[in-house]
């Protein structure tokens, strides 16, 4: 029996070892490297950076390994951001800012990435309790990278900060400024993707302010300009159904999702909406 079992076990061990060491394709190796790096970072994030120096440095080195193994790739860029986050979790904001500053400098040609790095850097001030400096830097991003999506999200981000920290007047003012800015941009660049993005942000602001009637009015206005997507229609249907108690209007909107987008995955949500209307 030994004669048979030994080569089988040896064969299995060799195959397992070969597969575990070499994997197969390059893609497998790369994805494995990223996964291992994320795994090593988990304890740092879960314990707010309160891990041994060894574990922390191991996590940083793992991400540096990702950057070295696949430079100039989205995975490498993400790894650089993750190193910044590791320093933030560890409470080493200065080092995090250095990381983000280098990303920003290297991404001169990719304004979106540069704006994201600058945004992450500004947030380190917020995390350390210096909102004044954070807001100053956030507003600076809006001026330096005005055309980026990251910069467009900043007005709403500022408003949310005030709302979250129980400063309703300042929040209201910030929301108002955000809507004005988005509408101004949408009017300046009509019928562009940027305009659509800004108009979606307006809807989001109105929903966050719980201005339901204004939100409905705004979405209906959008409907005159564009063909509304299933996600926007669902928002509209839910406002009618849950906030304005207009069951008939809600039913019409949900049915519109079913007829206009019968193959879309959100059809399920529309059916659920109709079902809840029938139940009530």
């Amino acid at each position: 029996m030994k004669n048979i079992l030994r080569p089988l076990i040896q064969g299995i061990c060799i195959i397992s070892l070969l597969l575990s060491v070499y994997g197969c394709g390059e893609q497998y190796q790369r994805e494995r490297l990223v996964w291992m790096a994320e795994r090593s970072a988990e304890p740092v994030f879960l314990n707010d950076g309160k891990v041994s120096r060894f574990d922390f440095e191991k996590a940083v080195k793992m991400f540096e390994g990702v950057i070295a193994a696949m430079p100039e790739t989205p995975a490498a860029l993400n790894a650089r951001f993750r190193i910044g986050q590791l320093f933030i979790a560890r409470g080493e904001s200065e080092k995090a800012r250095d990381v983000y500053a280098r990303i920003e400098a290297d991404a001169a040609e990719n304004k979106e990435v540069a704006a994201t790095a600058a945004f992450a850097s500004a947030r380190t001030f917020e995390a350390s309790g210096d909102w004044i400096e954070a807001e100053k830097r956030l507003r600076g991003i809006m001026e330096t990278y005005p055309q980026t999506r990251q910069a467009l999200r900043i007005p709403i981000y500022i408003a949310r900060y005030y709302r979250k920290n129980n400063m309703p007047e300042k929040a209201e003012l910030a929301y108002g400024q955000a809507v004005m800015k988005y509408q101004q941009l949408a009017d300046t660049y009509p019928n562009t993707k940027g305009a659509l993005f800004c108009e979606n942000l307006v809807v989001r602001v109105l929903l966050e302010q719980e201005k339901w009637s204004q939100a409905v009015e705004f979405i209906q206005g959008l409907g005159e300009k564009y063909r509304l997507g299933p996600d926007t229609l669902l928002i509209l249907g839910n406002i009618y159904s849950n906030k304005l108690q207009d069951q008939q209007a809600a039913r019409k909107v949900f049915e519109r999702v079913l007829t206009e987008y019968p193959e879309h995955p959100l059809v399920k949500k529309a059916r659920e909406g109709l079902q809840s209307l029938s139940d009530s």
């Binding site: 029996m1 089988l8 994805e31 494995r32 996964w35």
Partner: protein, 295 residues
């Protein structure tokens, strides 16, 4: 009378097992059919892994994405997909190669008992003649186990939904699914025990599969304790590895992702040993019972 019956069943089991160990020690070649099946399974595992890598994956990606989603093609989900695909393809291997390996092993045991000069050509020839019957018997046993598994699943789901967060009969809800899986494996063993003498009857009595199944029931029901012990006891060895394979992801996270290869390979190895032991001991038991009948 009952005591005597118990003793005779116990005697039958111990005699079958001692003959099995004896046969394996004196003629380890009896393991070869299942050994080759195990080698084939490991080969299939490697092949599936290679098939899930570029450039081959491009050919199968549409099917994989349709049934398991795009995420399953990326690390580490790709390893979980590999385990799923491997388990699915093992059904085909058990049916097509396992049935043949069972026939060959039984034919070998018969020759061993008759103290004939063992001829591989005769063993293969006889198995080949009975191949369709062996496949049908395997399919019937599969079907019975599948029906039972469905029933166990339904009961398990019912109990899990009724137990809430507090658990069931003092058992924490966390462990209930594992308990049901273990119970399912043992229950499957009980069903398999009802068919354990079908292949030996087909091969040793040189009859057709219908008569073999009929004789199997006759023998299995009149020696139910022996049939159950011969199948269920070796199957218990499979439970730990099967429980680990239910959700290997936590183990992959704690150790290293490729531990799935070790788990699947270990499953193949243990299953091979269990198959060898059950097949030879069932064949031995059938031959012993036939000998008693003659006396």
């Amino acid at each position: 009378m009952i005591e005597k019956q118990r003793f005779s069943q116990f005697g039958l089991i111990s005699k079958s097992w001692s003959s099995t160990i004896d046969a394996l020690l004196t003629w380890p070649r009896l393991m070869r059919p299942f050994f080759f099946m195990a080698v084939f399974e490991i080969g299939l595992l490697v092949l599936l892994f290679v098939a899930l890598q570029p450039p081959f994956v491009e050919k199968i990606a549409p099917v994989v994405v349709r049934y398991w989603g795009q995420g399953s093609l990326h690390f580490p989900q790709i390893l979980l997909l590999l385990a799923r695909l491997f388990n699915l393809s093992r059904y085909a291997i058990v049916l097509l190669i396992g049935a043949f390996a069972t026939g060959m092993t039984i034919a070998g045991v018969e020759q061993y008992h008759n103290r004939e000069k063992v001829s591989l050509r005769r063993v293969i020839g006889k198995t080949f003649r009975k191949y369709i019957g062996l496949i049908i018997i395997t399919l019937i046993a599969f079907g019975a186990v599948a029906v039972l598994s469905q029933a166990v699943n339904r009961v398990a789901i019912k109990i899990l939904s009724l137990s809430g967060t507090s658990g069931f009969m003092g058992i924490s809800q966390e462990y209930l699914p594992l308990l049901f899986i273990a119970a399912g494996i043992i229950a499957a063993g009980f069903v398999q025990a009802l068919f354990v003498f079908a292949a030996p009857a087909l091969m040793i009595d040189d009859t057709n599969f219908l008569k073999a199944v009929f004789r199997n029931f006759k023998v299995a029901l009149s020696n139910l304790a022996a049939a159950i012990f011969l199948v269920v006891l070796p199957i218990i060895i499979l439970i730990p590895i099967q429980l680990l394979l239910v959700d290997p992801y936590p183990l992959m996270r704690k150790s290293f992702p490729e531990i799935i290869f070790v788990l699947l390979s270990a499953d193949v190895l243990v299953t091979m040993l269990v198959n060898v032991f059950i097949t030879i001991s069932a064949a031995n038991c059938y031959i012993i019972l036939k000998g008693r009948q003659r006396k």
